[in-house]
Symmetry: D2
Subunit: 335 residues, 4 copies
Amino acid sequence: MSIRIALLGAGIMGADHARIVSGDLPGATLQVVCDAFPERAKAVADECGAADVAADPMAVIARRDVDAVLIASPDETHAPLSIAAIAAGKPVLCEKPLAQSSADCLAVMEAEAKAGRFFVQVGFMRRFDQSYAEMKAALDGGELGQAIMMHNFHRNVEAPANFTGQMAITNSAPHEYDVARFVLGSDYRSISVFQPAGVDGSQTGAPVFMVLETNGGQLVNIEINNNAAYGYDVRSELVGKKGAISMNAPVYSRLDVALQSVERYAPDWRPRFAEAYRRQNKAFLKFVETGVPSPIASNCWDGYCAAVVAEAGVRALAEGRKVPIEMIGKPAFYR
Amino acid sequence: MSIRIALLGAGIMGADHARIVSGDLPGATLQVVCDAFPERAKAVADECGAADVAADPMAVIARRDVDAVLIASPDETHAPLSIAAIAAGKPVLCEKPLAQSSADCLAVMEAEAKAGRFFVQVGFMRRFDQSYAEMKAALDGGELGQAIMMHNFHRNVEAPANFTGQMAITNSAPHEYDVARFVLGSDYRSISVFQPAGVDGSQTGAPVFMVLETNGGQLVNIEINNNAAYGYDVRSELVGKKGAISMNAPVYSRLDVALQSVERYAPDWRPRFAEAYRRQNKAFLKFVETGVPSPIASNCWDGYCAAVVAEAGVRALAEGRKVPIEMIGKPAFYR
Amino acid sequence: MSIRIALLGAGIMGADHARIVSGDLPGATLQVVCDAFPERAKAVADECGAADVAADPMAVIARRDVDAVLIASPDETHAPLSIAAIAAGKPVLCEKPLAQSSADCLAVMEAEAKAGRFFVQVGFMRRFDQSYAEMKAALDGGELGQAIMMHNFHRNVEAPANFTGQMAITNSAPHEYDVARFVLGSDYRSISVFQPAGVDGSQTGAPVFMVLETNGGQLVNIEINNNAAYGYDVRSELVGKKGAISMNAPVYSRLDVALQSVERYAPDWRPRFAEAYRRQNKAFLKFVETGVPSPIASNCWDGYCAAVVAEAGVRALAEGRKVPIEMIGKPAFYR
Amino acid sequence: MSIRIALLGAGIMGADHARIVSGDLPGATLQVVCDAFPERAKAVADECGAADVAADPMAVIARRDVDAVLIASPDETHAPLSIAAIAAGKPVLCEKPLAQSSADCLAVMEAEAKAGRFFVQVGFMRRFDQSYAEMKAALDGGELGQAIMMHNFHRNVEAPANFTGQMAITNSAPHEYDVARFVLGSDYRSISVFQPAGVDGSQTGAPVFMVLETNGGQLVNIEINNNAAYGYDVRSELVGKKGAISMNAPVYSRLDVALQSVERYAPDWRPRFAEAYRRQNKAFLKFVETGVPSPIASNCWDGYCAAVVAEAGVRALAEGRKVPIEMIGKPAFYR
């Protein structure tokens, strides 16, 4: 019996999810594509063979021919749609962020806890990436000794026109907050934010550099550089007392020409994390089928943690000082 | 309407195919798993959720609830099963080799031509690998200038106990013959085979080194080294008049420990070509659905070409001299 | 007419300098090796064919058969010996640091300025390293656009038993302060220091992570990790608005064995910077011969700058906050 | 007492040798630069501070103020000048080839044997390259197990206008013959030569591919591609029964720009082998000083071996077949 998935949001991310559901997930059916722009919903539905299109996500969530929901609509809709899905008893794969504030994350968590079972998987897909998996395995397997530091770099070719340093902290960096926390197995206790001077934080694509301290005593350094120009490039290195492990972004060929040996960068994130998205969505399907959440995937608590860090980061940027990260105690439901 | 696939052969390759069909191919159903050993068929069927098991491949091919056939049974069965599938009007994805001799390949071709449409896709999956795709694109796009040489290396950790130099030529090297021919777009006209002295060709896992000349004037060099010990490692470089392009086998991390910086090899081919198999099998599914063969995939003619080269290679090894490669003219059906 | 060089200090660094002078510097003679331990002086003098040994560095500086002085004695002697050499009118290649405090650096600068010509080259040899030269050339040539950030990593296998986080800031990091300042062409205005928690700064080899802001608005990040265990490893990346350039430490071979592809690290700095030391010492010889300082080499002003940064870094570590870096105006003599 | 060296030949190679002698060899003096073109001799002498220039190499060899001779004059002069130096009792560093035929090599060997001591070091500088040293150490140290194959690639940007495939065999490939023989510790017994069709062997820069069999049972494969266009690129891999080791040409930086990650090739051999030349010439100086030949360097016997292989290679190319390599027994003098 195929799982009937409703896709909420048919933008770039939504269309990619539609392709994965229809092209890579045996056992799933792309039942309905919902978007405020009907032509966008229709284009994705046609390309991916969805049975139906719709415009009202709340109505879609309620449909009896929908078993699960994939939220890829604008950020401000994530929390209310997740809560609606929980209320309807339907599992959710929610693109990051879970919500636009930690308070809103708490609201989703409360809804989930009240419902008494897990419904929401948050789309921090990097946890499913092979590189991070190997880094985590090296740490957990003892090859590195005790973790000391983690260096993380996120570079994009070009940021959207309205992108600020604050948005780097709230929109781009949460992937880093989550995956470093996942790899290290530790929460954060402080964040400091630096910005190249003369690069006004309100300007387009302002890069930021963050130093986070974890409860486990590690440093997590994060460069977010959304106007790096040269290519989409995510790097990470985990340094332990006995050794270190670095991400190798997979490259498939090397071209020798004109006195150069060249490996190519992609202009966006999709080739780099295509396999991670596939694995993530397969894990979500299994979660829907079995009711057992993936041990790897992020849940609402993880979504909340990322939101708290982002909020502290915004303050650290504004105030030019190290800001403590204060989280609620982990609710019993998420332990 | 899902395509119902019968898997013939539930060994290592067959089990991998079953996993792909059941785990990565929406639109396909693993209908029946057939193997001479019932418990092997059952194990694969259970793991991958196949509806049925069977022991007689001819009977399976004839079943009305089977739409297409995936042949992963022993080499000597490939040709007769392919011919049976053609006779039954069912598309075939046949693991390489298409047949154990070029004469048997011709028999399959004749059956197919007589049937008047394409039925058989041969499992030279490397054509779907991203590295070879990038190499071919660089050549076709003019970045390399005219092709001059191609260097190919196939290394395995350990060969089966009965593996001879002749088997390296007939069983391992056909992947290289096919993919180099695919990338270069040219057939072969001669083959020379060299073997490290003191490594008797009848001995286990004897390495061979081959130099092939193409009709396009290129050299294609192939090392087959099935007892390379250090890891599964396939490499390729294409050299043109303006530049060269090399395969980069994707690696996901790099470990620094004990005065070493380490990247790991897998012990077998599966991680390296997992994505190529997936793409290949998706192309097969599309072929079944549309009746239009993949423009990338190998067909019977390609299977024949590989067989002819292997036969010449065996003679070149035995006679210690360059042997011409003589093929029939390409039948009109395959042009 | 060969330049007669007196080597002051015959420890590890001194012995290496003796080898360079005697083995790589045509036009130079290792005239005398001076060390408080006579047997150490003698061992180096014998190995490198020095004419004489001595124990009193002040007397050596005064000798008429000494044309120039190479200081590789303990840190606390650097400033007084440099001042003595200036007084004797003899050029000095002084191992870093120039002095143990910025105040002492100023004293050497005053002596030099008073003498009215340049006498002292400071041994920040990384400026002569090919990697940094290529990084600087890429920046100066406009390939990177405006510089934004520089990431620097210094890792040693094992620190001496008494090595503290403070020493990482004062003894190891000055190489980084100097070379980043050289590459960027900008002085520093603040420093922040972070340390993995639970790694007490007074403990052996405590790693530190520093974020420096330059007057040019760049961030310079520095990891000093003297107990990195896995190998001697210096890395650097310079990030600009149009692109980035990374150091590739040269490696000469790659070993494939036991499911690993291995490149080796050296256990100490010598192989990595052997060529930089040779180039530095050749530049010093040319300086002695011509009286014109190398445009690349560090002088007393550069030595002072590094000392000021180190002092601010120590305060930043102790006080747990960002500390401004306050330097005197650049004296006319050094402009 | 400085060794007074006469440089015979002030072309590109000669000028490089002059720079090494004057700039990197304490203990050596560039006494006289000799070239048929006086202005060329003068230019090199002026740049490198040679005491004198000359035009007649035989007269130079005879000069009492010359202790040793460095031959970098045209190939046809190598043997007669070497013989003259032997007759004059003066050690020789002779650029490769030792002679233009194996017969002429024998004449030099006879002169040397008759003189009763070693005089000639042949300029196969690759033996002093760090990469080959590490490859040889890995083999000799047992890390690779028994050697099976060696793959060698020699690529130049552009060949001189008159360069033929035959010249690739006689002029470029001897470096490969010698260094592979040095690493493997085995002589050759056959050679086969292949050439991309349509690339006439008499044409400019025709690439060749050679397969050599050694007495130790290994295959040595050599690509000579002097019009490779993309850069100067020498590669080598040694494959053993337990593992393999590959040359890593040292690279000092990596530039990320315009969707590319770029490492640069040099347009000629000089950066790649600068250090090997320095080491070679230092070894020669030590040989002159001590009378004991370097255990690494090539001698006349090695020069003869390379010449024999080249001659067999020319025949193999002309006759299109595997040609046996027949050498005289190794004279007692060279054992």
